[in-house]
Subunit: 223 residues, 2 copies
């Protein structure tokens, strides 16, 4: 069985027009009949798929949170990881120079090729069939995100610190402002081994703690 | 007939769930049950719709050109113009303060509301039905773009100058480089009343002239 056939097995999708699949796997280093146009189409499909999925999955989240989550799910690194899970790097067709330089392992080339394959599936079938394929492909990432959202940043921060053997984070009320019917709380969150305090405001202590934990977690995950 | 009913007539779409339409028309100044989440969904739908439409309509154009054209079609100003063609500003629900300041006429609010309405139609129906509505809505803009692409920048530049009673643009060969099998031409395009020359390179004189005209046109349309 060829690499491209194996990839179709992993996708659980068989192309009617295999020329579309071939084009989707062709890097521009191989000439003008490449995957750049399909990538453009696939990019917008993936954005819409993820936007819709998040919209339906998290009815209580605000637009800003959904946008942020979407950005994380369709960023270059995430898509490249999905491409690797399909062994897509085994199927890429590229110029000899690009191949010798290891282009088939580059995140940008892999994520573009994944977008192109999605564009090709859509042209080869329709939206419901494409969404089916994407549901399987994104099953892991969406489960991961659901867990994060369910647990919330305070639990995640606690777990993160426990894993590295550190004590629990400390929260303190830094200030309270606003009128009694419309108060605003400021909470500081401090973490052992980190010399700054993460401040956040909210309409309740709980909300401000949530946001402060979010900031601390974001900082720790980046550093 | 209410304004919202008139708008549905213009869209040639009747909502099954009129609550969705109401939400799509509700600006955030009116409280938490507003159109921000629908706008997020509609934005990605519009991007995908326009991406697909351009992909199919211009099989010879490259990804970069398609991306640029899409940006023009879904930019704030373009969407606000479409919103006005639907009299959407008559249907917006917003806080008194925002309304008094004329928020219903602001491009940002109108384009967001249009995106929200598109998101609401999709949730109320499905993709084919949404695409039908969008086909009517974008009929004008797509015809305009087709004309531009068919004519090309040299004709458009000529027309533009003739309309303002100016003489034809002048093209001159500024330089030629590269080997004979892979030449590179540089062309300068000058226009009466404009003290700069627009330079562009290309693999043929024709291609370089095309790009120089494109630059001149872009400059003149902006100034």
């Amino acid at each position: 069985m060829s690499d491209a056939e194996q990839m179709q097995d992993r996708l659980e999708y068989r192309f009617t027009d295999t020329g579309l699949l071939e084009q989707a796997l062709t890097h521009r280093s191989l000439g003008p009949h490449n995957n750049e146009r399909l990538e453009y189409l696939g990019d917008s499909l993936l954005n819409m798929y993820v936007a819709e999925k998040l919209y339906r999955q998290f009815p209580d989240l605000r637009e800003g949170d959904l946008t942020g989550m979407r950005a994380g799910l369709v960023c270059r690194e995430s898509l490249a990881a999905l491409a690797r899970s399909l062994n897509l790097h085994m199927c890429l067709r590229m110029g000899k120079g690009e191949f010798t330089m290891g282009g088939q392992h580059r995140d940008s080339i892999l994520s573009n090729a994944l977008e192109s394959v999605v564009g090709a599936i859509y042209l080869d079938s329709d939206q419901p069939r494409t969404w089916q394929v994407l549901d399987r492909l994104f099953d892991g990432p969406f489960k991961g995100i659901s867990t994060c959202v369910r647990k919330g940043p305070k639990s995640l921060l606690q777990e993160f610190l426990q894993k590295s053997g550190r004590p629990l984070p400390k929260y303190r009320l830094v200030g309270q402002a606003g009128k009694s019917h419309d108060p605003e709380f400021t909470i500081g969150c401090s973490v052992t081994g980190c010399d700054r305090e993460f401040l956040a405001r909210g309409a309740s202590r709980k909300q401000a703690e949530y946001r402060a934990a979010e900031k601390a977690l974001e900082y720790l995950l980046k550093s």
